[in-house]
Amino acid sequence: MKIVVGHLFPDYLNIYADRGNIAVLTRRAAWRGHEVEVRALGAGDEIRPGAHDLFYVGGGQDREQELIAPALAALGPALQDAVGEGAAALAVCGGYQLFGRFYRDQSGDELPGAGLLPLHTVAGERRMIGDVLLECELEPGEQRTLAGFENHAGRTVLEDGAEPLGRVLAGFGNDGESGFEGCRAGRVLGTYLHGPLLPRNPWLADWLLAQALAHRTGGDPLELEPLADELEGEAHAVSADRARTRGGRF
């Protein structure tokens, strides 16, 4: 089956190896006999209803975020419609901030967000930099860990009732205080974790692919055929260990 990924502003938001995440989605789909087609989405592009099964937006520095924030916000209503009818999304780092309501940067300027996640972000004085380990439960009763690296000045505040992506076991997370990281709204996930995220957390790549396939077929997400993930497991273990021994804290 073919899965269409809409990659938002790949020329601008690509600072932390975002193409690694795309490569993992593409390969892991191909190893199960599915094809991933990645379409770049930029300023003024039309997002037709049902055309994309999964959206991806990566990280950028303040300057890149400033350059594209208005154009991304303009795509907000179309993106909201798309996820409203079941498309999945992963937003990382700068893209995570811009998926919220707004991002107020260090100079006090407010960048508009796409409004896909119930949160906003305000840049703080000190950057939160280091390895991170999270505990997530995307499916009831299935506890999993996510290991990654964070580097952000923004403090992200979830609105009342918003669901975080995970609980912080080590590292800063959304704001260094709440003990939570990221945000989840249905099939839309946002996180500060790069590294890139998916190679060392293949279960999350498979979860996203399952949601995308479910969108394509109109059915429920099915479990994907397991793959030999020994290298991935090793990389996860080293990264998790780094977070435990030297993850960031104030």
Binding site: Y16, G20, A23, R127, G130, E234
Partner: protein
């Protein structure tokens, strides 16, 4: 103030000897750290004693090589204080000042983040800015921030100082344009342009108005001949240029060095376009310090390789080729050079994640390793983050059963040599601390001198 300074220097020199005697390293930063602790102002006073003053070199990529090339040009005519082993924070500069007793000129490569402080203390006669790429964002923060600090540093330089900058880097071209009397260099040979802007290009948007630049030629990352179609910000006219560039695989590169004083053909004994940039930076800096065109050409042609950067080490019947990788732009050039020389079938890549390597290893995913895959038969992935590196190649489409994950560097080196036939060469791509460890391993086996002896 004289007596205390002399005492401090004596103490610091003693510390370097102790460090070497204790076998803890070369003492390349210890005396400087000590001096720094005792009296930070001592660095300023030591530098002020140099009769020909100081010159400093910074860049994301090529600092060590550029400084080594400049040293080669300047050494015949004056005695240098030079932090050759790459200890490039304030403490490393202080150590080099302490160690060089009768130096006439200070020649220092300086860490990007440390440059404003070092320039403030040294009041250098000349400052060379080579390039700015994304590198260790976990340590430096955002690229724009480094550029902003450099801009402030440049405007605070004494009036008599010469600013030398790479015009092909939009950020640096803009900094140079803001300072009267700056001297800029660049490449001018579109035959060697990349067909498209590389993934690792960073400053792709006009530094003034944010519009994407149009490139008449992009050479490495975002370095090239750019122009903003909207506001007109463009590469400034080149004072010093490399033209008619001829690349000769892994062996060498030659070019015409065009300066206001005339032109000369330079044949470098190191390969790649990135070394043409390093040579231009060294030549322009040396010119600013009074070196003649003949001295510049002779120095560049006599240069072989800087420590761990394209260094060939003979190990009995086999040789080891060491190419440092540390960020996407630099690693891409290593890959490009290897491919031009006939890419190897066996490769050892070592990924560490110490502070000097960058604790965030995500950068390996932004390196274009793919051109190597066509001829690669076996990969030995080693270092503290060996598994992560193996994943980079696996998800690039390289067969998992052709990857050996050997986290121990020593075991990986032995395995690599075992797979290399007698008379053959093992190619190793280590990150910074892995490079030091690898050299240490072959030094303990008696094949190279420890770095502090080589640096002396």
């Amino acid at each position: 103030m004289r007596a205390p300074l002399a005492l401090e220097i004596a103490l610091a020199r003693g510390a370097a000897r102790l460090s070497r005697l204790a076998g803890t390293g070369g003492g390349t930063t210890l005396p400087g750290k000590l001096l720094w602790k005792l009296d930070p102002g001592a660095v300023d006073r030591l530098a002020a004693r140099l009769p020909h003053g100081s010159a400093v070199i910074s860049a994301t990529n090529g600092k060590t090589t550029t400084a080594a090339m400049a040293a080669r040009i300047l050494e015949p005519s004056m005695r240098l204080a030079h932090n050759r082993a790459g200890a490039n924070l304030v403490s490393g500069v202080a150590s080099a000042l302490v160690a060089a007793r009768d130096a006439e000129l200070g020649l220092f490569e300086v860490d990007e983040a440390a440059l404003p402080e070092v320039a403030g203390r040294l009041s250098p006669r000349a400052v060379s800015l080579g390039n700015l790429f994304r590198d260790q964002l976990d340590r430096y923060g955002e690229l724009e921030l480094v550029a902003q600090r450099w801009r402030e540093m440049a405007s605070a330089l004494p009036r008599a100082s010469t600013l030398v900058a790479n015009a092909d880097d939009p950020q640096l071209g803009a900094i140079a344009s803001e300072r009267h009397g700056s001297v800029v260099f660049g490449l001018d040979d579109p035959r060697h342009a990349s067909p498209e802007l590389q993934h690792a290009a960073d400053s792709k948007w006009c530094v003034r108005c944010g519009t994407p630049y149009e490139y008449a030629a992009a050479y490495i990352g975002h370095l090239g001949d750019y122009r903003c179609p909207s506001c007109g910000h463009a590469r400034p006219p080149l004072d010093v240029a490399a033209r008619e560039i001829e690349l000769h695989g892994l062996e060498s590169v030659s070019f015409s060095l065009d300066t206001p004083e005339g032109s000369t053909r330079v044949a470098l004994q190191v390969p790649g376009l990135y070394n043409v940039y390093n040579a231009l930076a060294a030549a322009t800096l040396a010119r600013g310090l009074g070196a003649s065109l003949d001295a510049i050409a002779a120095g560049l042609q006599g240069f072989s390789a800087a420590f761990g950067r394209f260094e060939r080490i003979q190990l009995d019947e086999r040789s080891l080729l060491v190419l440092l990788i540390k960020n996407p732009a630099g690693a891409n050039e290593v890959v490009r050079t290897l491919v031009a020389g006939g890419a190897p079938g066996l490769l050892l890549v070592a990924l560490n994640d110490e502070i000097a390597d960058g604790r965030d290893v995500s950068w390996i995913w932004d390196v274009d390793f793919e051109p190597l895959l066509g001829s690669l038969r076996r990969l030995i992935a080693t270092g503290e983050r060996a598994a992560e590196l193996a994943l980079r190649f696996k998800y690039a489409g390289f067969a998992e059963d052709a990857i050996e994950v050997v986290p121990s560097l020593e075991a990986a080196l032995d395995r690599g040599l075992e797979l290399t036939p007698p008379g053959g060469e093992l190619t190793a791509l280590p990150t910074y601390t892995a490079m030091l460890a690898l050299r240490d391993l072959v030094a303990r086996r008696g094949f190279v001198k420890p770095y502090w002896e080589q640096a002396a």
